[in-house]
């Protein structure tokens, strides 16, 4: 119960900070829309590449990637806030005051989730407004958003672990760069079958490839690789939960 109370307080404060500060709110809303515009708008001719067979069109194809990307970066952006809290000394006071410190991680996680839900709602609205075609039904779409949600949690826990170890905003690139790379080493612009050479090899072993391909399958109404995708996403979340918890212990030990 005390854990939940701590989580609620941390989540409320984080969300209050984000939604009352345009410099924190706007990038996380604008960037996914911008990537969606740049990829779906600028690269729509890619659908004419021989072998590209996504029936719902390039807008839908890119929507899935950008939705998953927004989920991952929603978690990372919240990680920036954790680092900022350590720099300002707030997090140290929080560690002293919180009766159950695991509630701190939970609170940041809830905030990341709520923050991403707003981004996802806007992104989805824009995608439908520009005529995105959807082949999947309600259950399929729930599958897509569930995958994104797990990815959001995993990215937050990764960033949280980094923030609690380094306790400075200078760790921002350490939080951001691996997430960026893992996302872009998945089949971003074309399906896996059209990738060639080293990027194909990397994409095959990249766990996020399963997530992206399954997400596109959900949107098309032809679910594919559902088990491996959820397995990979949950494994990432569980792995980073341990990473974040150990980070919390290190932050506690640092005083």
């Amino acid at each position: 119960m005390k854990t939940l109370a701590v989580a609620r307080a941390v989540a409320w404060r984080t969300l209050h900070n984000v939604f009352t500060n345009p410099s924190l709110l706007i990038p996380s809303l604008i960037f996914p829309l911008f990537f969606f515009t740049a990829f779906a708008g600028g690269l729509s001719r890619v659908r004419d590449v021989p072998g590209f067979d996504f029936a719902q069109g390039y807008t839908a194809f890119q929507f899935v990637f950008v939705l998953l990307q927004s989920a991952a970066f929603g978690g990372v952006f919240t990680g920036f806030g954790i680092a900022r809290d350590f720099e300002s000394g707030f997090a140290r006071r929080l560690l002293l005051a919180a009766p159950h410190r695991s509630g701190i991680v939970l609170g940041y996680g809830l905030a990341a989730l709520a923050r991403w839900l707003v981004t996802a709602a806007i992104l989805t609205g824009v995608a439908f407004a520009v005529g995105m075609k959807v082949g999947g039904g309600g259950v399929d779409l729930y599958g897509l958003y569930a995958l994104a949600l797990i990815l959001n949690v995993a990215a937050l826990l990764w960033a949280c672990g980094v923030a609690m170890r380094f306790r400075t905003m200078q760790a921002g690139p350490v939080m951001q760069m691996p997430v960026f790379l893992v996302l872009f080493f998945a089949p971003v612009y074309v399906p896996l079958s059209l990738l060639e050479g080293w990027i194909h090899t990397v994409a095959v072993v990249n766990p996020l490839t399963r997530v992206v391909e399954a997400g596109r399958g959900f949107l098309a109404g032809t679910p594919t690789e559902v088990g491996p995708a959820f397995g990979a996403a949950v494994a990432l979340a569980v792995g980073f939960l341990l990473w974040a918890q150990r980070g919390l212990r290190k932050a506690e030990a640092a005083g």
Partner: protein, 257 residues
Amino acid sequence: MTVFADQVYLLARRSVVRTVRQPANVIAPLLFPLLLLAVNSGGLKAETRLPGFPTSSFVAFALAVPFIQGALFATMNAGTDLARDIQTGFLSRLSLTPMRRLAVLAGQLGGVVALGLVQAVVYLSAGLIVGVHVAAGLLGILVLLAFAVLVALGFGALGAFAALQTGSGEAVQGLFPAFFVFLFLSSMNIPRNLIEITWFRDVATANPVSYLLECVRSLIITGWDGEALALGFGIAAAITVISLALASWALRVRMAR
């Protein structure tokens, strides 16, 4: 003239040393554009199969992007360094000396231009190592390096202007997303004639960054394309002149305070 040259040299040396002493300021502008090049040239290789695509090598097509992206980093570095000089009071102390304003600006931009040149050599070397052939030959490579220096100077001056106007490193950093928008809404990933969505093609056509990219691309893919070179160098020169004028004006205002 000798005094002026001395002043520029001293500040330029300080600017170069300061840049080199901050590994993050050197490594990030070198590494990040190369990573994006690797990712995009792998992921978008299939695009070369589109009818009308100008080359069979996407790396050759995409190699222009790091040059411009590196210049964006130059903007941030120049602006952030100058903003720090304002915040720490260094610029105020400098204003008490007989140092000329132009020397202050030229010296501050010295490190940015040096880094811009190093970046260009690294990007080009990376391209050549993975098999890119520069169609314009050795002279084309020299022109490419000169263009990279001009673009770094222009964008660096823009960063300096932002720093002098705001006096805040954070505000300068906040410009980065805006510059990124210009990069992504250009012919960065696909030739303009192959962009299908009309409004996107119109935006890319109106976007000066497209012509900077196409200038570099022409030297690598086509050879000597007078129109692409004239547009690229013309726009880069215009950005440089306007940015330097704005930065010079902002410096005068800042030093008068």
